[in-house]
């Protein structure tokens, strides 16, 4: 492979990106303006009644916890998962597998019994605390789960109106942090992929234009190999995706997004977005194969941009559960999920969920890119 040829194509493509005002707007300015507008104006929830997966760590030495669990289960909103230890439950919480963890203390039964023996004499109660850990990556979970759990506990003690007069106290362990998290911050991970999907337009239009004005043929007449050509193009778009990610991150940072993560996590984020950009190149090539004119390329690109926009970015979290199932079929869902786990849930790069997301993104993006390259090469060989 000749590096001079590859770098020549990268330089050409980057110059085009900077100098073509339409491309500049579409790839850089539009996502930033959209991110700004969307993040300041939108971020609510909606859809049908959800079911939350709750982890239970039952350390109670008596049987009262079983009554609590039955009551929680009866709400039909909470799906209980029993854990043997705190570490496993916390790992699952950090990876988004469950939305909350309730730690039932060992004196829970004693506390309840003390209350039942002298309901009107708080001096004889044995006070205890149930600890509730919440998924910081879910706006809905942080707001919906604590009142539900509190209500169940209140019903157990019989004090429906004066909650403060109970030996059972619910402490939401991470709620202090969560309250600082705005709706915009919940949407931030999805905004990274939002910007990147517009590369589909750029790739499709660039290839169709070059074909239409004879540049593609002219380049094919030179000794450049198809491999060198494709590597040059793909690297160009990867660089553009990195610049996009940096701009989006800067914009998010300026708007107040300050995830408490280390440099490795940032590096991993940029790596993941680079891998993700390959799928957009692949989709762009598929569009370029089908489209005969740059105008048609723009139109057809929407077929690939819109599903990813609605299913894989911050928009998807606000849609119904059935739509969220469909989200699993777009690659950027996994990028958004990984970034949510890293930035909001505090998951490690090596956690099971993040590694699984990376694996799905890598495999799907490689497959889409290979499909795009094969499809394009087959149709335009002669």
């Amino acid at each position: 492979m000749n590096a001079q040829r590859v770098f020549a194509l990268i330089k050409k493509e980057l110059r085009k990106t900077v100098r073509d005002s339409a491309v500049l707007f579409l790839i850089f300015l539009f996502p930033i303006i959209f991110v700004f507008t969307f993040s300041t104006a939108f971020g609510g929830s909606g859809g049908e009644q959800p079911v939350y997966n709750i982890g239970i760590i039952d350390m109670d030495e008596g049987n009262a916890s079983q009554i609590l669990l039955a009551a929680l289960s009866d709400t039909k909103i909470l799906n209980l998962n029993i854990y043997g230890d705190d570490q496993t439950a916390q790992n699952d919480l950090s990876q988004g597998k469950i939305q909350a963890v309730i730690l039932i203390p060992k004196d829970f039964s004693l506390s309840l019994a003390s209350y039942q023996a002298a309901p009107d004499d708080p001096s004889r109660w044995i006070n205890t605390t149930l600890t509730l850990y919440l998924d910081k990556g879910s706006l809905i979970a942080t707001q919906a789960i604590p009142p539900i759990v509190q209500q169940v506990i209140t019903l157990m003690t019989g004090y429906e109106k004066i909650v403060s007069l109970s030996p059972l106290r619910l402490e939401t362990a991470h709620l202090v942090d969560v309250k600082k998290t705005s709706a915009f911050e919940f949407m931030a991970p999805g905004m990274f992929t939002f910007a990147s999907i517009y590369i589909i337009f750029m790739v499709a239009q660039s290839f169709v234009q070059d074909r239409e004005n004879g540049m593609m043929k002219r380049i094919r007449i030179t000794p450049i190999t198809p491999t060198e050509f494709m590597i040059g193009q793909i690297l160009s778009y990867a660089i553009i995706a990195l610049v996009q990610a940096a701009l989006v991150f800067t914009m998010l940072y300026l708007l107040g997004f300050r995830p408490n993560v280390d440099l490795h996590t940032y590096a991993f984020t940029f790596f993941l977005l680079t891998v993700f950009s390959f799928s957009n190149v692949g989709f762009g090539l598929i569009v370029a194969t089908i489209a005969k004119t740059p105008g048609a390329a723009s139109g057809i690109s929407f077929l690939f941009v819109l599903p990813q926009l609605f299913l894989g970015t911050f928009v998807g979290a606000s849609l119904s559960s059935s739509v969220q199932v469909a989200s699993r079929f777009v690659p950027n869902y996994y990028v958004t999920d990984a970034l949510t786990s890293l930035f909001l849930r505090g998951a490690a790069i090596t956690s099971q969920t993040v590694l699984f997301d990376l694996m799905v993104v890598s495999a799907s993006c490689a497959a889409i890119l290979a499909l795009g390259v094969t499809f394009y090469a087959k149709c335009y060989k002669d």
């Binding site: 040829r5 020549a8 050409k12 085009k16 540049m215 043929k217 007449i221 030179t222």
Partner: protein, 250 residues
């Protein structure tokens, strides 16, 4: 022909049921300036596309400088230069950046590139506009730049597909002078043109192609005298039964 650098043997190209080339055979000598003439759709550009390796023939054999174009395409591409019919340049790059891109694609080293660039931009009267974006170039300037891109790597065999189309007379004469100079340097040039005057002025030999077949092949003066006519255009009309109508394809 003993010193043939381009050999075409029984070349056939079919596009589904349309026969674009029907058994064309031709040999072009090293250093020859060969003119390929023919009406629209005669098969001229198809021959050029096959010779430069971007189109596969249905059957037949094509070689350049002893290399089979189909089997040793990359080798062939290193020493051919092609100025295509369409003005293929990047509008968002300057003239110099377009040349730099193609210099890099041909892996020309920086020192050689600078020397070639200076000479070509000077010779084709584009030196003053080399650093301007080509979207601001006139049609003639774009054609001249396209010509520079084809020659940036100093190719031995040059294909010029309608190189002066759309140029004003002044630009056309600049290009003609440069083509003559290339011939003096010993380059082999294959030129397709609609301008009979251009072919008569420049070419050592011309081949007239029609309906995919080579119907005449000789030096212009021989063709004129053999057919007892006044100029090459009359030869063309005699063989093809029609005049060149440039507007037809523009």
């Amino acid at each position: 022909m003993a010193d043939s650098i381009v050999i075409i043997e029984d070349l056939v190209k079919k596009f589904e049921d349309v026969v674009a080339l029907d058994g064309v055979s031709l040999q072009i000598a090293k250093g020859e300036l060969f003119g390929l003439l023919g009406p629209n759709g005669a098969g001229k550009t198809t021959i050029i596309n096959i010779l430069c390796g971007v189109l596969k023939p249905t059957s037949g054999f094509v070689s350049i400088n002893g290399y089979d174009v189909q089997r040793e395409t990359r080798k062939v591409k290193e020493f051919i230069g092609v100025c295509p019919q369409e003005t293929a340049i990047y509008p968002y790059l300057t003239g110099l950046e377009n040349a730099e891109l193609f210099g890099d694609l041909y892996a020309v080293d920086k020192h050689t590139f600078r020397a070639r660039c200076n000479m070509l931009f000077e010779r084709l009267a584009l030196a003053k506009d080399a650093k301007r974006r080509t979207e601001k170039y006139s049609g003639g300037m774009k054609r001249r730049l396209s010509f520079i891109l084809a020659l940036i790597h100093d190719p031995q065999v040059i294909f010029l597909d309608e190189p002066t189309v759309g140029m004003d007379p002044q630009s056309r004469h600049v290009v003609w002078d440069f083509i003559r100079e290339l011939k003096r340097e010993g380059k082999t040039i294959i030129l397709t043109t609609h301008y009979m005057e251009e072919a008569e002025e420049l070419c050592d030999r011309v081949g007239i192609i029609d309906h995919g077949k080579m119907i005449a092949l000789d030096p212009p003066r021989t063709l004129i005298s053999k057919n007892d006519v006044g100029n090459l255009e009359e030869v063309f009309i005699k063989f093809t039964g029609r005049k060149i109508r440039e507007n037809e394809w523009r």
